[in-house]
């Protein structure tokens, strides 16, 4: 999968280098306002990395709701391969004992509650503290598995956490204090966090060797001329460059907005 929008060449190069085993940085923060193209860049990275890299791209901000630390951990294990996480599975199984099956549908009065995929039901973790303890056990098991994981020389496990904003307070604290620093401490793991402001400076300081890229929009007219041409559309104006420049300025370089506008332009004949 590649980007068909105007690209952030420098940022993409930095991200690509970061994902390689030779890079000293352990965490990469991709900051940028909504619509700046963070998700597209992450999808691009996952597509271009050689197959021997293990990759998990997790949407933190799921439109369906129901986000939780357990779900995020399950997303990582599902994408990297659940059989590579024996300790995690063991703890997950232990945590599940005494409660309903993860995929069972329980009907309490007229309300259906079920585990669709990884949505863990009937946790019986009564208080926020109980949930914190369950999450801690599962996270430690996952980090143990990652430390023990055999990865081909010169390759890494890339965990990309996309959409770090508007998160529930408990999830936020766990990500900042436990998961991201924990992942960054595993030699062959590279963790990427993207969001409006991917992490606060204090959290970045705690992790140590990090890189931050801020996507401020693509404002180069020639980039968008290339995209316009690739999409087979044309600007209804005598001077395409000036026309594009006005729209790029109006949208402040936000790729999603510019692309949306561009797709509404008339198609070239033939």
């Amino acid at each position: 999968m590649g980007l068909n929008v105007a690209d952030y060449h420098a940022d993409r190069a930095a991200l690509d280098a970061f994902a390689r085993a030779s890079c000293a940085n352990r965490a990469f923060f991709l900051d940028g306002s909504p619509g700046m193209g963070k998700s597209y860049i992450l999808e691009w990275l996952c597509g271009v990395l050689p197959a021997a890299h293990r990759v998990a791209l997790v949407e933190l901000d799921r439109p369906q709701g129901g986000q939780s630390p357990q779900l995020i951990l399950c997303e990582i294990t599902d994408q990297v391969g659940r059989d590579r996480f024996p300790r995690f599975l063991q703890v997950e199984h232990r945590e599940a004992e005494g409660r309903r099956s993860r995929n069972a549908v329980a009907i309490v009065r007229d309300v259906h509650i079920e585990g669709d995929g990884n949505f863990v039901t009937a946790s019986t973790a009564e208080t926020p503290r109980d949930k914190e303890l369950v999450t801690r056990d599962l996270t430690n098991a996952l980090l143990d598995d990652l430390r023990q994981m055999s990865v081909p020389a010169g390759h890494t496990v890339v965990v990309a956490l996309d959409g770090y904003h508007d998160l529930d307070e408990a999830i936020h604290r766990w990500l900042v204090a436990v998961l991201v620093p924990g992942l960054a401490r595993v030699d062959h793991v590279r963790v990427i966090v993207s969001g409006r402001t991917a992490l606060q400076p204090n959290a970045k300081r705690r992790i140590g060797t990090t890189h931050t890229s801020t996507l401020g929009g693509v404002t180069e007219v020639e980039e968008w001329e290339r995209v316009l041409d690739a999409e087979g559309r044309f600007a209804p104006a005598e001077h395409t460059g000036s026309y594009l420049k006005a729209m790029i300025d109006y949208f402040e370089g936000a790729p999603n907005d510019i692309m949306r506008w561009m797709m509404s332009l008339p198609r070239k004949e033939g």
Binding site: R62, G65, G66, V108, T124, R129, L133
Partner: protein, 567 residues
């Protein structure tokens, strides 16, 4: 009636609809209508859209989805889920709800139906409830509350799901949908979120109760109002609220609600030292929770009953109750409940002199509390460890533990716990030969116990006061304080603590030559009763102390004997 997509197309053609979308002037009315149509839910997939095929006019679901996808009007997420960009979606829906509320309501109704017919899953149910609020506000709000209560309760405790539901309701309220009723339901739903119960505004809930006839709302809001009253120390008012909530839930056959009301009623009754009634409420609540699979709440009820047995000095029954509660907690992830049961059980074991067993329980609980920095729990563990050191005669170390525990209770702002820690500090200082330092500490804590109406703590504090007075040689004052303490435990129906005080009372009375109304026969009777009780309750050390004291009650008074522990 025309298909909704056609209606939308018509709408954006004649209204300022094109301005709803930034740069929207570049789109046709049909494209804009499609964008609005897919923006109504937070997400959708092909299955949902197929359910809505009758609303698409002459177009197929695939044609419409392809158009909005190709125009980049929606984003594709994992699992072939499509979602409109948040900013555009918010803008479009706010405008639609404002300019064409009937169309918005019909679209919401259509989506509620489509998500409801989809294969059940959390995301679909959440979306169904969200649209239900806009389609039919009174019914939708009630349905959303029902789901929030169920998901937030035993055995699910899915506060994340409740937060999602509350967020969805907030979104509709912000949009001007379900205005007044929505605000009332929102106020109630917020109380289920972490920290929400503590921040609950009783006046808002009381006022809401006057407007909503939904019995679930009535029952739940009444419980919340009672909880706020209980926290403020208005125990009788709280009790009346829990009774009322129970009647409401009973009327609609809601076992979970009945259990919740009874459980909270039991807690209020304990605060009033009405132990028989409290035990009955716990028992009934346990039965109700059992019927709806509420294993954690049932474990709490069993623990509550064991606490009451402990308060009443029935140590054997209490021990059995704690064992049962631990067995109920074991298969759950309610580790905080399990830890608090272990600490309570450890306190019982300390009374019985089983110090190593008690220490093992405390260590298990402390590991749980320390992992999550739970100050109150850590304080309780430190305090129980201090009691073990006290029993072992290391009063200096015990004092350190009690002091550290007290600082934890202060951080957690738990007044009754601070009072108990102060008494224990006082007891340690007395044993360390510093009764002058102990007395002001005990007196201040006694005042605190009186202020908050904690009769058990007051009886216990009076014993510590008596022991400190004895140590400074003020035997008259000591006798008065100990007699008050014994009377307090009698009134509370706690024969074990009453007998422990009784031994000290007899000792001091004997030192004073049994002033009126005390006499040797009364003292012997008191000590013999205590001996039998300590034997039955398996408290060998206290039994030994009682027998020692009985030996000094021979016809000629012997020299006073000091005991290591009268805590």
């Amino acid at each position: 009636m025309a298909a909704l997509l056609d209606e939308l197309t018509e709408l954006v053609s004649v209204s300022p609809g094109r301005r709803w979308l930034r740069g929207g002037g570049a789109y046709s009315a049909g494209q804009l209508a499609a964008m609005i149509f897919v923006s109504v839910p937070h997400w959708l997939d092909r299955d949902v859209f197929v359910e809505l095929r009758n609303e698409l006019g002459g177009r197929t679901p695939d044609e419409v989805l392809a158009e909005v996808t190709n125009l980049r009007l929606v984003r594709r997420h994992r699992g072939d889920v499509l979602a409109a960009e948040k900013v555009a979606r918010t803008m479009l829906l706010n405008a639609l709800a404002r300019d064409a509320p009937d169309v918005f309501a019909r679209l919401s109704d259509a989506y509620a139906g489509a998500f409801g017919r989809r294969e059940p899953g959390f995301g679909a149910r959440l979306e169904q409830l969200y649209h239900g609020v806009a389609a039919d506000p009174p019914h939708g709000c009630a349905e959303l509350l029902r789901a929030a209560v169920t998901w937030g309760s035993d055995p699910y405790f899915e506060t994340g799901a409740v937060a999602d539901l509350t967020g969805r309701l907030q979104e509709q309220v912000d949009r001007g949908v379900a205005a007044a009723a929505g605000m009332r339901y929102l106020a109630l739903c917020r109380t289920y979120l972490p920290g929400g119960a503590a921040a609950a505004d009783a006046d808002t809930l009381r006022s809401a109760l006057a407007h909503e006839i939904d019995p679930l709302f009535q029952g739940e809001a009444t419980i919340r109002v009672g909880a706020v009253d209980l926290k403020a120390g208005h125990v009788e008012t709280a009790l009346a609220a829990f009774d009322s909530a129970f009647s409401i839930f009973k009327g609609i056959g809601d076992e979970r609600g009945c259990g919740e009301a009874l459980w909270r009623r039991a807690g209020a009754l304990v605060r009033l030292d009405m132990y028989d009634a409290a035990a009955g409420s716990y028992e009934a609540a346990a039965v109700a929770f059992d019927r709806v699979g509420g294993s954690v709440r049932k474990a709490h009820c069993v623990k509550g009953m064991a606490d009451i047995e402990l308060y009443r000095g029935r140590l054997g029954e209490a021990a059995g109750g704690f064992e049962r509660a631990l067995a109920f907690f074991a298969p759950t992830n309610a580790r905080m409940g399990e830890a608090s049961t272990r600490v309570a059980y450890a306190n019982l074991k300390i009374l019985r002199g089983r110090l190593d067993e008690a220490l093992s329980d405390i260590k298990s609980a402390l590991a749980v509390y320390e992992a999550v920095d739970e100050e109150l729990g850590i304080g309780n563990c430190l305090q129980a460890t201090g009691k073990i050191e006290f029993e072992r005669g290391d009063f200096s170390r015990a004092l350190d533990m009690f002091t550290e525990a007290r600082s934890m209770f202060e951080a957690a702002r738990r007044r009754s716990s601070i009072i108990n820690a102060s008494f224990l500090q006082g007891a340690s200082l007395t044993q360390l030969g510093r009764p002058d330092a102990a007395l002001p500490l005990i007196e201040e804590a006694l005042q605190g116990a009186t202020d908050i109406g904690d009769r058990g703590a007051r009886a216990w504090g009076l014993r510590q006061l008596g022991l400190a007075m004895e140590k400074v040689g003020a035997l008259g004052e000591a006798l008065t304080a100990l007699a008050d303490s014994a009377r307090g435990f009698d009134e509370l129906g706690d024969p074990v603590e009453g007998s422990i005080t009784g031994l000290a009372l007899v000792r001091v009375a004997r030192s004073l030559g049994f002033p009126d109304p005390f006499d040797t026969e009364d003292a012997k009777s008191r000590v013999n009763t205590a001996s039998r009780l300590f034997e039955e309750a398996d408290m060998p050390r206290y039994l030994w102390q009682a027998k020692e004291l009985a030996g000094t009650l021979a016809p000629r008074p012997a020299n006073p004997i000091g005991f290591a522990f009268d805590g």
